[in-house]
């Protein structure tokens, strides 16, 4: 079902975002804790990185059908 694809994508995005954010957070926390003496920037950073990564993934995931591959152009 093509209409379910978007939903799935969003699910994945969210899931991914969650994971990434969480991971980022976590890493951030970790890093923050570990490395950065409880600074908040790694958490932000991590979370942001996570979020950004998630965003980017989500976007890519959502963009994926429109992407033109080099091999396709070659085939043309």
């Amino acid at each position: 079902m093509s209409e379910k694809e978007l939903g799935q994508k969003w699910d994945r995005c969210l899931a991914d975002a969650a994971i990434k954010v969480g991971a980022g957070l976590g890493l951030g926390i970790v890093f923050s804790v570990v490395f950065f003496k409880r600074r908040t920037f790694p958490i932000a950073f991590g979370t942001g990185t996570g979020l950004g990564m998630a965003y980017s993934n989500c976007q890519n995931d959502l963009r994926s059908p429109y992407l033109v591959h080099s091999n396709a152009t070659k085939e043309q």
Binding site: M1, S2, E3, E5, L62, Y66
Partner: protein, 717 residues
């Protein structure tokens, strides 16, 4: 006759003169006819007179003029008796001839009582001589004479009766003759038989007659010797004995001769009867035999007659001698009487005289004899005187007798000759007849041959003609028949062919009808099947639960494919179904409709996203747009899409409108116009919709086709 005619003419002339001399008188009218009347009367009288004189003329007139016989009978009396035929004469003459014989001759043709009487007479005749010797010489002649007289007397009645007998015999003969010609052999046999027998008897008779003749001769001679001789008594006695012997011999011989003659005559008469019978039977082939038999008969009769004549002559002589001896015996008797008067003890027996006379008897006898001699001398002298007269008388008698004998002999000879001539004539006639017959036969044969030839030729020609005719007729008839037959056959054939053709045509028609029916039924069945399968398909389409596709249409399509394998259209259509529908089935319209709303929402949300704008931000923006944009959910689509109608929201509104109206196709069309992400989102729905639409289209086509086909088949052609 001449005198009569002269008288007749005189009469006529007198009448004429009478007529001429009569003056005119008041009775002139009757006198005027007188001449004619007189002439007529004269003619009639003359005819009658001439008829009286000439019976032939009378007969002619009777024959030619009707009722003249009555007139003649009235005037002249009955006609003279007809001429007696000649044939009866010799038959009459011969028996007369035969039976004219004097001694002991029987006539077997005489009626039975007379023959019996005759039989009785010869019986006393042989019986008589036996008892009395002396009377014997006298008696036999007497008896013979008596017989003669009897016969002479009975000739006439015999003759008179013979015609009756003759007629009866003739009738009998005719009756015999009426038998068939197979009598010929019997007749010839009979003839031969009788001929042989009669010949034998005749020979016997002739022999007997000759014996009688000799006996008579010897007897006469002896008698004469005895009379003339002057032998001593013992010799005389011997002579007398011899004479007696001779007499007895003679009588015996004569009797025998007479008997045999009788038998012979009987047989001859029988033969004559048979001959006559044979003659009457008119069998030609027997003629020579009859002739021969007649000849034989005639010769036998002739011989018999000759012998009989001889015997007769001898007997006449013997008669004379016997007369003489009679006289002598008379004298002797007288002498004996005298002797017996003188010598009564001597037996007056001629035979006894020889041995029983004593001496004085002899002396007395001699004396008596001397006296007798004297007396006899005187008588002799007297006799000598009367001799002349007596001689003359005797000569006269002799002459008469001679004349009679001559007459009879002449008659006999005449008759013999006549008979012979007749026989010769008959023989000649027979010969001539045979010759003529042979001639005639040859001529007839020739003619018959010619005739047969001619007939053959004619017959051949006729046969040819007839055959041709017949052939022609046959051929024409055959032709006719053939043509008729052919025609009939042809007709039959034609009718048959017609019938057959019509039947065939009908059959064909029926077959075609049946076939077409079958075909139609087949078609109908197929259509039905198709329809059924299409209905099945339809039904399978209906089996789509909500959000679940139908059952795979494969089975139904296979059924369709199987059921109407030869229906190309159906096959094409069946193959035109998309594989997805076959394998997976299709979604129902309702499910699609339901899904559409989801698709619509989604499509609205991602309305801004396309290949250029597909970041998240855009997503957010399109989402925001979809929330913030308020438009009609359903919008009636225009008939023609303009460029501004290609907006997502518009399109979706159109589609929603369409889908709400059940027009999935239009909705699919509108959804097909989506771009970007909306399109991508609606892609599956579109696909499904497309599938469903396709399937539906095909199925509707199929069903329409099935319906059409079904309609087509169920409709009458």
């Amino acid at each position: 006759a001449v005198n009569l005619w002269i008288m007749f003419f005189f009469f006529l002339s007198s009448q004429n003169c009478l007529c001429g001399k009569v003056p005119v008188h008041p009775l002139q009218h009757c006198r005027r006819y007188t001449s004619l009347q007189i002439k007529f009367g004269g003619g009639l009288g003359g005819t009658i007179l001439y008829a009286k004189w000439d019976p032939k003329f009378r007969a002619n007139v009777e024959k030619s003029v009707p009722y003249s016989d009555q007139l003649f009978e009235m005037t002249l009396g009955p006609p003279p008796p007809p001429f007696i035929p000649m044939q009866k004469k010799p038959v009459k003459a011969e028996p007369l001839q035969i039976s004219s014989v004097s001694e002991a001759s029987k006539d077997s043709k005489q009626p039975k009582p007379k023959s019996k009487a005759k039989e009785k007479q010869p019986e006393p005749a042989p019986v008589d001589p036996k008892p009395a010797v002396e009377e014997a010489p006298a008696l036999p002649p007497q008896t013979i004479e008596a017989e003669e007289c009897h016969e002479c007397a009975s000739h006439e009645p015999a003759v008179k009766e013979r015609p009756g007998e003759e007629v009866a015999a003739r009738l009998a003969q005719q009756d015999k003759a009426e038998q068939d010609c197979c009598m010929f052999s019997a007749l010839s046999f009979n003839l031969e038989d009788t001929l042989g027998f009669s010949a034998k008897l005749t020979l016997q008779a002739i022999g007997a007659q000759e014996a009688a003749l000799t006996a008579i001769g010897t007897h006469t001679h002896r008698l004469r010797e005895a009379m003339d001789s002057e032998d001593p008594p013992d010799k005389k006695s011997a002579q007398w004995r011899e004479l007696e012997d001779a007499l007895s011999e003679r009588t015996r011989a004569v009797d025998q001769a007479g008997q045999s003659l009788l038998q012979a005559k009987e047989q001859l008469e029988k033969l004559r009867v048979v001959i006559n019978g044979a003659k009457e039977s008119k069998i030609e082939a027997a003629r020579p035999q009859i002739l021969a038999a007649e000849e034989n008969l005639h010769s036998m009769i002739v011989d018999l007659d000759k012998v009989v004549t001889k015997v007769q002559a001898a007997q006449t002589e013997a008669k004379i001698v016997s007369q003489y001896s009679e006289l002598v015996n008379e004298a002797k008797v007288q002498f004996q009487k005298e002797l017996s008067s003188i010598t009564p003890e001597v037996q007056a027996n001629w035979k006894g005289l020889t041995g029983k006379l004593s001496a004085d008897d002899l002396n007395s006898l001699i004396a008596h004899a001397h006296r007798r001699i004297d007396q006899l001398n005187r008588e002799l002298a007297e006799q000598r005187v009367r001799e002349q007269i007596r001689i003359e008388a005797a000569l006269e008698q002799q002459k008469h007798e001679h004349q009679r004998a001559v007459d009879s002999a002449v008659d006999k000879a005449i008759q013999h000759n006549h008979e012979q001539l007749r026989l010769e004539q008959e023989k000649k006639m027979q010969e001539v007849r045979e010759v003529m017959e042979a001639e005639m036969r040859t001529q007839l044969r020739r003619q018959a041959a010619a005739h047969t030839d001619h007939l053959r030729d004619v017959l051949k020609v006729q046969e040819q003609e007839l055959r041709e005719e017949a052939q022609e007729a046959l051929s024409s008839k055959m032709m006719e028949q053939e043509t008729q037959h052919r025609r009939l056959a042809q007709e039959q054939l034609d009718s048959f062919t017609l019938d057959m053709n019509s039947a065939y045509a009908r059959l064909k028609g029926m077959e075609e009808a049946i076939d077409s029916h079958v075909v139609a039924e087949e078609e109908a069945r197929k259509a039905h099947q198709l329809w059924l399968s299409v209905e099945a398909l339809n039904y399978t389409l209906k089996t789509a639960a909500a959000d679940a596709p139908t059952e795979p249409l494969e089975g139904a399509v296979r059924t369709i494919k199987e059921s109407c394998a030869e229906n190309e259209f159906a096959q094409a259509l069946a193959t035109a179904l998309p594989d997805e529908s076959l394998t997976r089935g299709v979604y129902s319209e309702a499910s699609l409709r339901a899904r559409f709303y989801g698709v619509r929402r989604l499509a609205r949300r991602v309305a801004l996203i396309d290949e250029t704008r597909n970041s998240l931000y855009q997503y957010f923006l399109s989402y925001l747009q979809s929330i913030l944009l308020f438009e009609k959910e359903q919008e009636a689509p225009p008939t023609k899409l303009a460029a501004q109608d290609l907006d997502t929201f518009k399109l979706l509104a159109y589609a929603t409108y369409s889908i709400e109206r059940g027009d999935l196709e239009l909705a699919a069309k509108f959804v097909n116009q989506l771009h970007g992400e909306s399109r991508r989102v609606a892609q599956d729905w579109l696909k499904e919709a497309r599938l469903t639409l396709e399937t539906k289209q095909v199925v509707s086509l199929l069903s329409a086709y099935a319906n059409a086909v079904g309609l087509g088949t169920t409709q009458a052609p």
